[in-house]
Symmetry: C2
Subunit: 170 residues, 2 copies
């Protein structure tokens, strides 16, 4: 039930949710924060700061990128969003998931699929035992090719004998 318009009721709702989160922490509930929070929770996947900015700006053209960064930082601090370190590049954000989950990333089309697995917990426990660490955050990313990209013919891997001829390090 995504809305096309900039307007009213829906915004009221966002604002309520935002208020619940922010005022409890002694922070002010601003339209920008409510908007960004809504963009994040409406998004199916993970967004980077610029995507949040562009999506939010469609609804409030006066929004600035610094506010996006500041809000992302605040929400992260409040535990409402999590930074995801997919492959390389810059940061991605997602609303903090209720339960631990991990990512399957397609190197062909960029699709990201989330998954859960009991093995992840086993692994955490195993490592806590053997290392003495107290582990609080587990991140796991499996990278490869999704069924679609496999079907459409994938680039054959092989790190070494790269058929690199020219200066293709750019």
């Amino acid at each position: 039930m995504r809305l096309h318009m900039i307007s009213n009721k829906n915004d009221m709702l966002e604002t309520q949710e935002a208020r619940a989160i922010l005022s409890g922490a002694g922070r002010r509930t601003t339209s920008q924060r409510a908007l960004i929070l809504d963009v994040l929770s409406s998004a199916s996947g993970h967004l980077d700061a610029d995507e949040v900015y562009r999506l939010a700006k469609e609804r409030d053209p006066r929004l600035s990128l610094s506010t996006v960064y500041r809000t992302l930082g605040l929400l992260k601090q409040l535990g409402q969003v999590s930074e995801v370190h997919l492959s390389e590049e810059h940061h991605h954000y997602e609303v903090t998931p209720g339960s631990q989950h991990y990512h399957l990333v397609c190197m062909g089309c960029g699709r990201v699929v989330e998954f859960q697995s009991a093995l992840a917990d086993e692994l955490r426990v195993e490592q806590e035992r053997s290392s003495g660490f107290m582990v609080s955050v587990v991140s796991m990313d499996l990278k490869g090719y999704c069924p679609d990209c496999q079907a459409r013919g994938l680039p054959d891997p092989g790190p070494s004998a790269a058929g690199a001829s020219e200066d293709d390090i750019r």
Copy 2:
């Protein structure tokens, strides 16, 4: 009385190793590349570009940071080094390990411990079956506190009720 210069025998060795890697790929074996390769393989852990630069510059003061980046890119392309995405921040590099391994990162002191686990493979297989992905890269980072930092008293976790009073988002 002189000698802050690039020395001798040891360099010969580095150069041999570097040559084996580079000339096979049709790339030139330069002293800079040999040096950077040596710095990386001598390093116990993971280095970021600037650390590589500083360490290498001690041995060849004329080395430039861009060469470090270019070489890191080349070696990565040749499969000799891997980019590691520890927590946040910038990139880290390590010589590509012979066998898959993962990281335990201490959020207190920054120490990084590598580990391996059969569970990781199980998990990969499990996910390949259920998702249809063909997984080629698995990265796992467990973050927490190492025994030492636990002993020395750790900051109590808890994302929500953060006792944040001022603007500590900086």
